[in-house]
């Protein structure tokens, strides 16, 4: 369980770093909303979606399916972190 939490935090933090580094906004590591869609927050534009997906896929060597590139699975840092964990086998699908 502790491992899972550690992995969750490390994936989430890497994701936060990537977003802050690549998509300048007024958000910082302390106040970036974790449960809201980056597109709706205006932090990324439509092309940013591609950059994010390509980052997730290359960073963690995973493949994200068309059916997963949705608000439900990717609308926010937490959701994306869970998606990555699921793909790398740390989290059960739907968990």
């Amino acid at each position: 369980m502790a491992d899972r939490e550690q992995t969750f935090e490390s994936v989430r933090d890497e994701l936060i770093d990537f977003v802050l580094e690549n998509f300048p906004s007024d958000c910082t590591a302390d106040n970036l909303p974790l449960n809201e869609s980056l597109l709706e927050l205006g932090i990324i534009d439509s092309m940013g979606v591609i950059e994010l997906v390509e980052f997730l896929e290359s960073k963690w060597s995973i493949r994200i399916d068309e059916s997963e590139i949705t608000h439900e699975r990717m609308g926010g840092i937490t959701k994306m972190t869970n998606l990555v964990l699921e793909k790398i086998g740390v989290l059960q699908a739907g968990g």
């Binding site: 580094e21 690549n22 998509f23 300048p24 906004s25 007024d26 869609s37 597109l39 709706e40 205006g42 932090i43 990324i44 534009d45 439509s46 092309m47 940013g48 979606v49 591609i50 950059e51 997906v53 390509e54 068309e66 059916s67 590139i69 949705t70 608000h71 439900e72 990717m74 609308g75």
Partner: protein, 630 residues
Amino acid sequence: MGGYVRGRAALGNARLRIVDLEGGIQPAVSHDPEVVVVLNGEIFNYLDLREWLIARGYRFRTRSEVETLLRLYQEIGEDMFRRIDGQFAIAIWDGKRNKLILGRDRVGIRPLFWYQNSEMLAFASEIKALYEVPSIRLRLDRRSLIQTFRFWTTVGDTAAFEGVHQVPPAHYLVFESVTKAPRLERYWEWPFPGDVECINLANDDEYFERFVQELSESVDRQRMADVPVASYVSGGIDSTVIAMCLGDLVPGTLRTYSVTFEDPEYDESGAQRLVADHFGFEHSSVHIRPADVSEHFRQVVFHAETPLFRTAPAPLFLLSKQVHEDGIKVVTTGEGADEILLGYDLFREVAIRKFWARQPESKWRGSLFRRLYAYLPQYRDPRYLNLLLDFYKGTLRDNDDPHYGMAVRWNNGKALEVFLSPDMRDWATSYDPIEELERWLPTGYTEADDIARAQYIEMQTLLANYLLSSQGDRMSMAHAVEGRYPYIDHHFIEFAASLPRRVKLRGLRDKFILRHAFGDRIPQEVRSRPKVAYQAPDLKAFFVDGETPDYVEELLSPERLADVGLFDTQRVNQLVRKGREFKLARVGMRDNMAFILVLSTMLLDDIFVRGNRLSSVERSSAPELELVEV
């Protein structure tokens, strides 16, 4: 070049010589009473007006447009603007009434700027002439920056520098004193669908026939010149139709021109070749490498004189150089068809959002977004579509927003303000560019529907201040080449406005009438080709093989950025780093726009505020004007 100086008034002109090559000396001067006129541009109906004036007893010394304007002013005064067809910036000095009038064409093809302080009033076609006035010290106008971030261009009478105004399209100004504010008069208005009587014909074929006739007449009016006229051909339907109509009217083989790109993402050479071969045009093209864009961007900004959000003017700057070297002074283009015939994806986006908003649960309605922006990878690739649809779904609720069609774009623009310095952002909290834009909207706007409103805003911003200006007249005139724009001949605009919408936007098929009116004369591949937005490499062009031009390094250095004070040094730095390290095939629009806006603004500061502007190349295209006492 000619000039007039008398008492406190001075007017001058550098002429391109397209009509009445020998006789059209400027200014045109009448001594009793004293009236002086200078013109930058073309008056397409001047021969008709000349005949009308002769019938009323006027005698002419030349066959020039400018003398016709002078007599027309003597006959009907300020009302003259309603009577003239063309692309123009006109200044009239009425010595007897001590009055200066500055007028500009209906759509904003020809530039016209003015500046006033407690001692003097100055006007010019280009800001670089005002720069030469000793008592004028240019400083960047913060409003222009916020406007361009939000709308992609300035609005109303704003120019890039404090105290410098542009005469808005379709307006004239009357100065009755050097120091008092002028009276602003609008002499023409873009017609909203409710303002004009709809043409009602029996079937599509009748509309097609009428359309062909009206457009051919417009091309005929717009080709007026005593020198050969060539045509720009992009490979799309808009310019193909214009070139074909022009080819029908001129003797011999029509010369056509295009830009091609090393980067296949932007290149349309296949389509251009197809058009040229099909019609037998004598075609030439200029091949653009990414480095060509960055190498010439400084000159591009020098000529555009306003912040730019794209580099796309740069290839056209290089194209007009080639055209000039070939001895051609006049080219037609397809500019304006997307605005008047509803070609932009933006209009279809509005239509889909409205349609989907009525049944937000319908997956099928949402999936229509698939048919938009076919030239953007995030729309083309079905992988990313679901997330985009989720995003659009969130925008469906803003139904009562008066600028519904523009909301997505403007929100993206607002998000770019994170690149502004804390001081600028602080200032921007008390400045609302939308209020400024709304000051210039006519009453018809509120009554119009969302598509007509989006159309109006596109015409006032992107078309007038970017496509016709930064990417149009300013780039062609940099090499003494004049653009002609048959789609926005005002008679044709009025005709297009009176067509029922269904012949322009048929379901989701854009520019329906243009694609079908000429039938088989246009190759099927061209007719069915989806809209491709003309663009050039932006951010990427400044980081080719890890190399950045020296001027970019200098202007975007933390020291210079801090000194200018408009941008957030750290965030611009982030953007530069992203440019250096970027690995994807295509950069996002937001990064591209932010980078080009910052760089072009820093160039404006360097060139026009710091005065580091006149390399020998730049000076060669900015001739000295000698004024002579009359």
